[in-house]
Every structure is written in structure tokens, then in C-alpha cells.
């Protein structure tokens, strides 16, 4: 299932990184993916929301590992051989553009595939929106 070319040769194709969580496959546009690494050693982040699985240290950077199973209903997960799909996000928050790295926990190694533009992208993660929506916010705005 490496190349899954649909008939319409004219249709635009893009490559996605596909990773499994529970019984669902999530897609990430390949241009956001920085690297895939082991989701360990994983360090806990006390007081963080449930979907923060922990953080990993990747060459001096601290990457939050996000557990999508705590956000979407995906059935049972098996993280015994979990990998982390690390993405680059450049996102404009209220007043500034920031670039940061976050990671998605994947059951086993993700794979890459190219699709035409006509496939349903129900499971595609819009990295920027995700970052904006799930960024851990301070409980109450301060002063």
C-alpha cells in the first residue's frame, strides 16, 4: 500500500504520514512531519490534560507527546511499541507567529502514502488548528 494512485491522473496528489491509534488511522500532511522517534523515555507532566501522554527530550528539545485516543474515540490502544511522530508547527497565535514542535503517539511505525485529492480526509489532522485548539491554556487568564 505504498503507492495508492487513483485513476484521475490529473487529480493533485499529496503524501501523508499515516499512523495508527486504536482502531483508527490518522493522517498528517508529510510536509509537517519532522521525524519519527521512539516515544520513550517518556516523562510525565503533572497537571497537564489527559491527552498529554508525557514529554520526550529530543536533542535538547522538549516535545509533548499527544495521545489522540484521549481526544477521539478510537477503541482500545496498545502503546507497547509506541512511536512518536514529531511535527513542526508554525502557528499564528493571537499576536505572534511561533514555531514549535509537538508529537503524536503512534502505535508502531507510521507509514507514508500518496493519495489523490479526492480521498475523504476525515482523519487528517490540521496541525495548526490542532495546536491552536489543544494548546494547554492557563486555567484562568491572569490579570
Amino acid at each position: 500500500m505504498n503507492k495508492d494512485k487513483k485513476e484521475g491522473a490529473g487529480a493533485e496528489e499529496s503524501t501523508f504520514c499515516i499512523f495508527k491509534v486504536g482502531d483508527r488511522d490518522f493522517l498528517l500532511p508529510v510536509e509537517f512531519v519532522r521525524e519519527v522517534t521512539d516515544a520513550s523515555p517518556l516523562f510525565p507532566v503533572p497537571m497537564s490534560p489527559e491527552y498529554i501522554h508525557g514529554v520526550v527530550a529530543l536533542r535538547g528539545r522538549i516535545i509533548p507527546a499527544i495521545d489522540l485516543s484521549k481526544i477521539y474515540p478510537v477503541g482500545k490502544t496498545n502503546y507497547s511499541d509506541a512511536k512518536l511522530v514529531v511535527v513542526d508547527v508554525e502557528v499564528e497565535l493571537v499576536r505572534e507567529v511561533i514555531s514549535e514542535n509537538i508529537g503524536f503517539v503512534s502505535e508502531g511505525l507510521p507509514y507514508f502514502a500518496t493519495f489523490g485529492s479526492d480521498i475523504p480526509l476525515r482523519d487528517m489532522i490540521d496541525v495548526k488548528d490542532f495546536f491552536r485548539n489543544y494548546r494547554v491554556k492557563e486555567p484562568h487568564g491572569r490579570g
Binding site: P44, V45, I63, R135, V136, E138
Partner: protein, 769 residues
């Protein structure tokens, strides 16, 4: 010019002028080498433009006019109306030299020589008339370009003065960020070094284990051999016919086991020997790593030193404001400074100005009494403000001491009762009452004036100081004076932290924030501990694992017998609080990195560190952990007439303009923030709500129009009035600014009246909220 003094501004102007002159110097040389480079001309144009504005502000008319003329010429170059030929380059150099001369004169206290303007303009007219023929739109004439490649000595063309090196000395100017980078690298090296040291230790442990295993092996073999020797003698038959004639006791028998056992003994001995060598090696290796560690430390302190400035320079900046304020409030104030040679990190230096200014202002306005009142009290007519600094280890202690009326804790108590924070029958200690002045919104000018409290802003002071990992304390002697003590780390690059664990998770905290670590007898469930007695006072206590919702490590059971748990006594500026943890792991030096922005909302952490062996530890911010215990007592600030507490952000790439406007606004009791370009401004707006933005249009990095667009495009910021302050008086600029959403327009150099009017218009006291 209430509150604004020229000599202070002049100082700013001089340091700013230095930069612009250097830019011009470099740029003109570049034009000389490569005429027609648009970016260079753009830079030059901006430098001349800013210099012009800055000079006008400090009323250096001649300098300003020459810079203006320069700006015109550069504009001509920019628009390709003039060609960057030899004549022009010479002219620019000549003009720059004149400016240098003027600035030099001013810096030496002589003032400008207005005659120079005529001289320069005459020359400019002459030079321009020569090149005028070479205009417009034509290909630049060949000759000047050729000449430009091989410049002659310019002195011959008539420099105004001898070609002195401007502001030079035995120094190299280095960008602070470069130093920062070096320090970061050293930080990384330090981490690697710690890792190496730790690995060495582990290797040592492994070799110890092998050593003991070898000893055990040897013991087992010897025992086994002995047993074997005694249990089997009769069954042994000599196979060597040569030895058959010897009796049992006449020759040592060497059966295979015996040989095997001896061999094993020898091998084990060899291993032991080798291990001894190995452990010797690792010992000296460890020493070497330690030596490297010491060298890193020296390197670090040397580089940090490069970033250190004498705090006296900061103190000096208060001399004029204190005089002006004293005059304004009709007080007699004398300033004493000591320890001015104490050195402090440039970054901290910069961030100390505002909090110190706050404290000093409070001391003058609320602390020191009028002369007649002082005489009545039997004090010297002149009030005294004593600024001192000293170094204590890695900490710099700054004290601001005044001999005014002090803070009346009775009034604080009454106010707290009135606000419902305290009950009339439970009067806390003096220290606890004093800590109220740090509670956001507790003190208002109203009571500050009456009770001579330290005014509002002390909570802001605390926040500013805690942002640089510092603490501030206040002590007062009612009737006799107040002392504010600020403790900040002398350097920020590498922080000494204490490592501790709670619920099986390791955390760190900057050592500067903790008072001490005590052993706390916990007889009950630790969750129930909310107050402990520390040095005779009840302080707030909290179990970290409880706060974080992580379970205590099972080793402490409830009730059965008493347990001692470590409690970190944190210095929260206004009070102490105890953070109960499971275990103190140790202390180390590390770099604190900012939080990943995705996790930025986890306010109880102020950053992350990575340990030598790659473990992630979060930096606990004790202020925020205990903060919610302040907020319930925080009341809404009571508002009042005037601008006290209103915040204005001034954005301009000219330091002089920023300082001028700041001084003006501060005199009106505004809290002023300043930024030198749009990006910096947005960063400030990100953290600080302001009531008005005053911005220049032409700035590097992000210009004013873009800034206005961003502000007006943001849901949160769009209601902040934006005033454009520019030297561009053209209708085009004004319209564009108003179109992009700016509320009003001020032309530089502006007069104070029009600024005052704008303040009144857009910041009517009615909408104070």
C-alpha cells in the same frame, strides 16, 4: 518640561548618536566601495533620519539640521535623483565629520557651534550643484565610479577636524546576543560535562562490582578446591609414572581441579590488577573532568563578566529623576549611593530600572516628608535616599533606603479590615501586614497617600523581580523610614537549581528562590498539612504531590509513626511558604529552557531542564504554586482621578524619543512600556495590557503601519487607541495611518500640549476600569 530633564536625555542621545554615527560611517564607506546598493542607502537614510529626530529632541538644532540635510541627500540617492558619485561620498563624509565634531563638543560639555551649519550647507550646495548635471535618470558617469574604487585619502578633501577615531578605546563592541549564544554553548558543555562525570561514577561502580564478583569467585573456588581436596584424596591415582615413587606428603599433587583452581586464582588476580588500573584511570579521568569543569566555570565567569555592567550606571540614571521629582513634590531629597562598582548581568541590569524607579518614586512621594514636617519631627530637613548594592555569592543585593515616615502598619491593618481581608480581632504580625502591599490591588494611591504605603505597583515590582528570579522584601520603621531589599542573581545564563522529587517525578527550583530546606515532622497525612510554624511564624505549607495530584511514594505511611519529610521554604517575596516534597535529590547547575509553547499554560512551571542523563525535569515556580492563596484576598483596585496605573506603550526606534516620551508620561504617573520596533511592541502587548499605544511609522524589523494593522486586526487589542508619532507631516502619511486604524496623529518634534490633549481625549478618566 515637568519631569523631563535635558541632561539625562542628552546622555541617551549621546549613546544613541554613537550607534547612528557608526552606522553612517560604515555605510558611507560601503557606498564608496559599491555605489548604488539600495539596502545600504536605506540603512543610511534611516540612521540619518533617526539621528535628526533624536538631535531635535535634545534641541541640538545644528546637528539636527545637518542630519536633515544628509537625510535629504540620501533620499535623493534612494530615489535615484542623485548619483552616488565621488562628490557625494566626500560630501557625506564631510557632513558626518561635522556631526561627529558637534557631538563630540556636546559630549564634552561645550555645546554646538551654530556657525558650522552655514559652512556645511555651503559645501553641500556646492557639491550638489556639481553633480546636478549628472542627473536625472541617466547612467551614472563613468569617472566617479572608477575613482570611487580607488578612494584617495579623504583628509585632503577637507575634513573639518583631524580624523579622530570616534568613541574608540581599547574595546571591541560585541552584540549582547553573541555573548548570550556563547553562554548557551557553555551551558550545553556544562550539561555534557555533568553527564560525563556521572558516567565516570557509574563506571566506577561497575568496576567495583566486578572486583567483588572476582573476590567471590576466588573464595568459592578456594573453598571448593579445599573441599574437593579433602574429600577425594584416595581416589586420585598418579598418572605420571615419574612421580609414582613419591608418597602423598612428599610431593604436591596436581590433579586437574587443582590446576584449574590455581588458574582461576591467577586469572582473578589478573582481573583484580586490571581493575585496580582501571579504577586508577577513572580516578584521574574524573579529576580531569573536574578540571575541565573548573575551566568551564572560569570561561563562563569570564564571558559572563563581559556581559556585566557596573550597577552604579543604573543608580546614576536616578539622579536626575530624583531631583526633578523632589522639586515637583516640594521635598528636599539627598541621594547617597554606595557599592556602585558591584557588577551585574546586563540583562538583569536592564530589567531592574523599572522596579527601582517604582520604589524610588514611592519613597519620594509617599515616604519622605516635606521639610517643615521633617523639622517638626526633629529630623534633618533633607530627606535621604540611600541606594546601595553588594554582592553575596551569586546574588546581588540592592537596597533602597529612605528615612521618611515609613509605612504605617496600623493603616494597612485598618484597610485590610475595611476590605474584608482580615477580621478586626486578629491582627497579624508586622511582617504579615507589610506583605499586604504586594497583594495586587490592595494598596491604592488613596491609602498610599494617607497611610504612606508604598503605593500601587508593588505587586508589579514583585512580578518584574520574580521574572528575573529575584525576590523583594520590605522593612519599615514607622516614623523613621523604609527599606526595600531586592535580591537578584548576578547572572541569568546558568542557574543553580535544587533537584527534588515528589510522587516519583523529579523537579527543580532555582536556588535563589528558596530560603532553606528543613525536615518537617509529619505525624498526620501530609495532605492535611496546610500551615507550619517556621521561625516562630505560621506559614502556608503545601504538599507538592498533593498540589500536582500525583500520589506520594508509598514509603510514608500515615499515622503509625512520625516521619520526617523535607520541606522547601520558598521565598515568595512577600512571605515564606513551605513546599513539602518527598525527597531532596541534590543541587546542580543547569540551563533553564522556556516551556514548549504547547504546554505554556501550565503556569506552575516556569521552564524545563534536562538532566545530565537526559531526564526531563520541570522548573517549579513557587510564586505561581502558592499564588492562588493570594488571589482570594485580592480586591479590585480602587480607581482614582488621574493617570496613575494607566499604561502606555511607546514604540519608536529612537532611544531619545522613547525616553523623552517616557519621561513625559511618567511624570504624569503613567506606567510606560517601550519598544524599538513593531515586533517588540507585539511581544509586550502579548503580556501586558496597555491603555494606549504611541508608535513611530518608520522602524526596522516591523514598521508602524504593520503594527497598527496587527493591533487593529486582533480581537483582544483592537480597542486600544493607537497614536502615530512621526516626523512625517505629509497628508499621505497621516491618511494612511488613519486608514489603517490609528486614532490620531502627532508630528515630531511634538509639543507637550498636544500630547497632553491626546491623552485627555483618548484616556478620559471616566472610562477607568
Amino acid at each position: 518640561m515637568a519631569g523631563v530633564n535635558r541632561s539625562e536625555l542628552l546622555e541617551y542621545f549621546l549613546s544613541e548618536a554613537e550607534d547612528h554615527i557608526n552606522t553612517l560611517q560604515r555605510g558611507i564607506s560601503e557606498i564608496e566601495a559599491a555605489p548604488g546598493s539600495d539596502t545600504v542607502i536605506e540603512d543610511l537614510y534611516r540612521a540619518a533620519h533617526t539621528l535628526k529626530g533624536a538631535a531635535a529632541l535634545v534641541k541640538l538644532t545644528t546637528t539636527s539640521n545637518i542630519a536633515h540635510r544628509m537625510e535629504d541627500i540620501l533620499e535623493g540617492l534612494k530615489d535615484k535623483k542623485i548619483t552616488a558619485g565621488r562628490e557625494i561620498v566626500d560630501l557625506l563624509f564631510y557632513m558626518l565629520d561635522s556631526i561627529k565634531g558637534l557631538v563630540q563638543d556636546v559630549s564634552e560639555g561645550r555645546g554646538e557651534d551654530p556657525a558650522i551649519e552655514q559652512e556645511v550647507f555651503a559645501r553641500a550646495d556646492e557639491a550638489l550643484s556639481k553633480v546636478a548635471t549628472a542627473v536625472p535618470g541617466k547612467v551614472p558617469p563613468k569617472a566617479p565610479e572608477l575613482e570611487a574604487v580607488v578612494p584617495e585619502k579623504r583628509e585632503a578633501v577637507g575634513r573639518r577636524k583631524e580624523d579622530f577615531e570616534f568613541f574608540s578605546g581599547n574595546f571591541v563592541k560585541v552584540d549582547v546576543r553573541k555573548v548570550e549564544e556563547m553562554l548557551n554553548l557553555i551551558g550545553e558543555i556544562t550539561i555534557k560535562k555533568n553527564y560525563l562525570l556521572q558516567k565516570t561514577k557509574e563506571t566506577g561502580e561497575i568496576s567495583d562490582e566486578i572486583f567483588f564478583a572476582g573476590r567471590r569467585l576466588l573464595k568459592e573456588i578456594t573453598e571448593f578446591a579445599d573441599r574437593y581436596a579433602y574429600s577425594l584424596p584416595d581416589n586420585v591415582r598418579y598418572t605420571d609414572p615419574l612421580l609414582s615413587e613419591f608418597g602423598e606428603l612428599e610431593f604436591d599433587r596436581y590433579d586437574e581441579l587443582n590446576l584449574f583452581s590455581r588458574k582461576l586464582q591467577e586469572i582473578t588476580n589478573d582481573i583484580t590488577e586490571a581493575l585496580k588500573d582501571l579504577s586508577d584511570f577513572f580516578e584521574s579521568f574524573g579529576d580531569d573532568v573536574k578540571t575541565i569543569g573548573n575551566m568551564i566555570k572560569m570561561l563562563r565567569s569570564d564571558i559572563s563578566e563581559a556581559r556585566m555592567v557596573e550597577i552604579g550606571r543604573l543608580f546614576q540614571r536616578f539622579v536626575r529623576p530624583i531631583k526633578d521629582m523632589a522639586r515637583q513634590y516640594d521635598k528636599k531629597v539627598e541621594l547617597l549611593i554606595s557599592g556602585g562598582d558591584t557588577k551585574i548581568d546586563k540583562v538583569i541590569f536592564e530589567r531592574l530600572f523599572d522596579p527601582l524607579m517604582h520604589i524610588i518614586r514611592n519613597a519620594i512621594i509617599h515616604g519622605i516628608e516635606r521639610a517643615d514636617e521633617r523639622l517638626q519631627k526633629g529630623k534633618k530637613e533633607e530627606g535621604l535616599i540611600f541606594l546601595s548594592a553588594r554582592r553575596e555569592g551569586n546574588t546581588v543585593v540592592i537596597e533602597i533606603n529612605d528615612n521618611g515616615r515609613g509605612i504605617d502598619t496600623d493603616r494597612l491593618f485598618e484597610e485590610a479590615v475595611r476590605k474584608g481581608l482580615l477580621t478586626p480581632d486578629s491582627r497579624p504580625s508586622k511582617e504579615d501586614l507589610l506583605s499586604l502591599i504586594f497583594v495586587p490591588g490592595f494598596t491604592t494611591t488613596e491609602i498610599a497617600d494617607m497611610a504612606s504605603g508604598r503605593g500601587m505597583g508593588m505587586s508589579a515590582v514583585r512580578r518584574l523581580i520574580s521574572a528575573i528570579n529575584g525576590v523583594v522584601e520590605v522593612d519599615t520603621d514607622v516614623g523613621w523610614g523604609t527599606t526595600c531589599r531586592i535580591k537578584v542573581p548576578s547572572s541569568l545564563a546558568i542557574t543553580n537549581v535544587i533537584v527534588f522529587s515528589s510522587g516519583g517525578v523529579e523537579f527543580v527550583m532555582p536556588s535563589g528562590l528558596l530560603e532553606e530546606i528543613i525536615q518537617l515532622e509529619v505525624t498526620d497525612a501530609v495532605e492535611s498539612v496546610t500551615t507550619i510554624t517556621y521561625r516562630g511564624r505560621d506559614i502556608h505549607a503545601m504538599s507538592l504531590s498533593e498540589k500536582l495530584g500525583i500520589s506520594q511514594q508509598g514509603r510514608f505511611t500515615v499515622g503509625s509513626f512520625s516521619n520526617a519529610l523535607p520541606a522547601i521554604i520558598c521565598n515568595l517575596t512577600d512571605r515564606k511558604a513551605a513546599l513539602i516534597v518527598d525527597e531532596i535529590v541534590g543541587q546542580e547547575e543547569t540551563i533553564i529552557k522556556p516551556m514548549n509553547r504547547f504546554l505554556g499554560g501550565l503556569y506552575i512551571y516556569s521552564g524545563t531542564t534536562i538532566s545530565g542523563d537526559g531526564r526531563v525535569r520541570f522548573v517549579i515556580n513557587p510564586l505561581r504554586i502558592f499564588e492562588e492563596h493570594i488571589q482570594p484576598v485580592a480586591a479590585r483596585p480602587v480607581t482614582e482621578e488621574g493617570y496613575e496605573g494607566r499604561r502606555v506603550l511607546i514604540v519608536d526606534d529612537s532611544l531619545s524619543v522613547r525616553k523623552y516620551v517616557s519621561a513625559f508620561l511618567e511624570a504624569k504617573r503613567f506606567k510606560v512600556y517601550s519598544a524599538s520596533n513593531g515586533v517588540e511592541a507585539l511581544n509586550i502587548l502579548d503580556e501586558t495590557p496597555v491603555d494606549m499605544v504611541i508608535t513611530d511609522l518608520e522602524m526596522p524589523v516591523m514598521h508602524g503601519y504593520e503594527l497598527i494593522n496587527r493591533i487593529k486586526g486582533s480581537e483582544r487589542l483592537k480597542d486600544i487607541p493607537v497614536i502615530v508619532l512621526t516626523s512625517r507631516s505629509a497628508e499621505k502619511h497621516r491618511e494612511k495611518a488613519i486608514d489603517s486604524g490609528a486614532e490620531d496623529f502627532l508630528v515630531k518634534p511634538f509639543d507637550e500640549k498636544s500630547l497632553s490633549e491626546i491623552l485627555r481625549k483618548y484616556l478620559s478618566t471616566a472610562d477607568l476600569a
